[in-house]
């Protein structure tokens, strides 16, 4: 014992810390190789759970000569590289929890039997104390992280609830239902209804990637952006385009928002929609379930995106389901996914509304298994158009006029006059008629110029139909989806006056603002635009019908 130097004692007092790691691969070897022969006063050594050194230490009690070990062990190589000569396992309750690692004695002699006995005794006392310390530290860390997580969840839930609508729109002839249930970890789902001044309703359903507070904050900001521009822009594609540009500057990298935006005209059932990468809505019709497809990238991923805008009509008796991916991407215990076909079948089998929501939720619970935790938020919104006496069966459209015009500039004036004659006697105010005429003129101009490229021998075909509720004018050209069709971007007068935009580009803007509905249809080379205006007393007659029901 007399030749033991204080230096070796110091190194014995610095155990190599073995972090019980779950890693499956080899131990982390200290990056600096055996450049220094002496043991460093303190170093970390990660020993992989499958390293043979662990089993060896647990079997062989007492100090071990590192140089004498014949093990294919990354940990042993690391110890040797550090100049370790002797290790003393710290074992408690049969489990290796650490090692005392000693370097070369300063006298360069081997460790004596006495030395080894002393070290064994020390290890026997140190091991349980070290274990207690480890356990306390683990528990503290677990507690802190659990508390932080729970606090975060409470905040996320508060944010989330703040932005969900408190009431649903009450529309005559329609039934709207909504359901939202957060997962325990709270995703970033949201939905909203905004009633526009003209009585139409802007509806949005969205989902933020990621979970917890970050997702909730992005959701809140997306929600506000959507609210602020939905009232001004009205067109769902313009809203998504605008919000995407604003969001792109704000959103953290690798986060994005999928979003479906639509405008419902309760009077006609016309739904104008655009989609930023969100799950497709389903519509249950007489002839089966259809998906409403419109292409567009999720919000916040890339700047200057455009969104396809499409139109569908919900007939009386039709129902629509908007949903978030928490449902279709739910898993059964065997990892099978709930999937879209299953959801589509449920939509097909239910009339819609709360009944559909109940059926979908019941099927979801059955599918994921009893007691299983919901993986992601679930959002469901249903729109149902009531079957009313007024709409019993197909409301027949009467053809009021059907004619062709040569594709020559200026012929739009003739189209205006012939439309005015065709709708004479219908309940159209002077204002509505003027608006319809302007929309017809602009659409006919586009057909002449962009569709038929001013070829006089290619005609523009115009049909006028009427029902007790509306008049529709369909204008068809032979240009298909003309490559030089005017851009659908909303014109910005400030930019035009500042010379940042061409003064032109008002055609589509005028068309959309002049009539109640614009639908576009392309079949082969035939490109049709249908303009619909409600007759001026249609709204009141519908209201009285609703009362009779």
């Amino acid at each position: 014992m007399t030749d033991r130097t204080p230096e070796t004692s110091a190194s014995a007092a610095s155990p190599a810390r073995w972090r019980p790691s779950r890693r499956r691969r080899g131990a982390a070897v200290d990056p600096s190789p055996a450049a220094a022969p002496a043991v460093r006063p303190d170093f970390d050594l990660d020993i992989a759970p499958n390293d043979p050194l662990i089993g060896y230490c647990e079997q062989v009690a007492g100090a071990i000569d590192v140089d004498g070990l014949e093990l294919d062990s990354a940990a042993v190589r690391a110890l040797r590289a550090r100049g370790t000569k002797l290790v003393v396992p710290l074992i408690t309750q049969g489990e290796l929890i650490g090692l005392l690692a000693l370097g070369q004695r300063l006298s360069e002699r081997d460790y004596s039997v006495d030395d080894r006995q002393l070290l064994d005794t020390l290890a026997g006392h140190a091991a349980p104390a070290l274990r207690v310390g480890q356990l306390v530290r683990q528990q503290e860390a677990a507690l802190v992280s659990r508390e932080r997580l729970e606090q975060e969840l409470r905040v996320a839930q508060l944010i989330q609830q703040q932005f969900l609508p408190k009431t649903l729109p009450d529309l005559p002839s329609w039934h709207i239902a909504a359901f939202y249930r957060p997962a325990r970890t709270v995703g970033g789902d949201f939905y909203d209804f905004i009633t526009l001044p003209d009585g139409r309703v802007f509806i949005v359903v969205g989902d933020v990637t990621d979970k917890g507070v970050p997702a909730a904050l992005v959701m809140a900001s997306t929600h506000s952006l959507l609210r602020s521009c939905a009232a001004q822009l009205v067109s769902p594609s313009a809203v998504l385009q605008h919000v995407n540009d604003l969001l792109y500057d704000e959103i953290p990298a690798h986060m994005f928002v999928t979003c479906l935006a639509l405008v419902l005209d309760p009077a006609t059932g016309v739904v104008t929609y655009a989609n930023a990468g969100h799950d497709l809505p389903y519509v249950r019709t007489d002839t089966g379930v259809i998906e409403l497809r419109a292409t567009g990238m999720p919000l916040g991923l890339m700047p200057a995106m455009t969104y396809e805008e499409k139109v569908a009509v919900l007939q009386p008796g039709d129902s629509m389901l908007l949903h978030s991916d928490g449902l279709a991407e739910a898993h059964a215990p065997d990892r099978e996914m709930f999937g879209f076909p299953r959801l589509m079948k449920l939509v097909e089998a239910s009339p819609g509304g709360e009944a559909l929501i109940d059926v979908v939720l019941a099927e979801h619970s059955r599918f994921i298994g009893a007691g299983a935790e919901q993986e992601d938020d679930i959002t469901l919104v249903t729109l149902q158009r009531n079957i009313s006496a007024e709409y019993g069966g197909e409301a027949a459209e009467t053809v009021l006029e059907d004619f062709e015009l040569p594709s020559q500039p200026g012929n739009e004036r003739e189209a205006m006059e012939r439309i005015a004659i065709a709708v004479r006697g219908l309940a159209l105010s002077a204002r509505t008629l003027d608006r319809l005429k302007t929309a017809v003129a602009e659409t006919t101009m586009n057909a002449i110029e962009h569709g038929n490229r001013n070829s006089p021998d290619v005609p523009v075909h115009i049909t006028v139909v009427g029902t007790p509720e509306f008049v529709a004018v369909t204008i068809t050209d032979e240009g298909g989806l003309a490559a030089d069709a005017p851009s659908p971007a909303a014109p910005d007068l400030d930019a035009k006056l500042a010379g940042l935009q061409t003064p032109r580009g008002w055609g589509l803007f005028l068309i959309k603002n002049m009539v109640d509905d614009v639908t576009v249809d392309t079949q082969g080379s035939r490109h049709s635009v249908r303009l619909t205006v409600r007759l001026d007393d249609a709204a009141s007659s519908e209201a009285s019908n609703a009362e009779q029901l």
Partner: protein, 118 residues
């Protein structure tokens, strides 16, 4: 295409009136802005009145021409006043926000009364 629009320039102290007639469409492309430039060359009028009373059709190209004149006038520090628009075209000027950038009057006389008061 035959020109279906013409413009008469009428000068009064401090202002100039462009009386438009016919259709404000592509046919007026080479007419409206050159006439405006010609009209403001002498006397540097502060206000330019566009009189639409005898215009029976304005299409999107016509709107673009009005935007062009308005942009030019603003660059020169002049005021554009729109007179005699029908209800329908007043609505279109509102929707396009042109009415945010020009005063609107029922006819030229009302506009001139307002200008002389200012």
């Amino acid at each position: 295409m035959q020109s279906s629009c013409d413009v008469t320039v009428r000068r009064i102290p401090g202002a100039v009136v462009l009386e438009l007639r016919g259709e404000l469409n592509a046919a007026a492309t080479d007419l409206l802005l050159p006439t405006y430039r010609e009209a403001v060359r002498d006397g540097n009028p502060q206000s330019v009145l566009l009189d639409f009373a005898q215009v029976d059709y304005i299409n999107s190209t016509g709107i673009a021409l009005v935007v062009g004149v308005l942009a030019q006038a603003r660059a020169e520090g002049r005021t554009i006043v729109a007179c005699g628009l029908s209800e329908h075209y007043r609505e279109i000027f509102a929707i396009t926000r042109l009415s945010d950038f020009m005063q609107m009057f029922g006819d030229v006389d009302a506009a001139l009364v307002d200008i002389s008061r200012a």
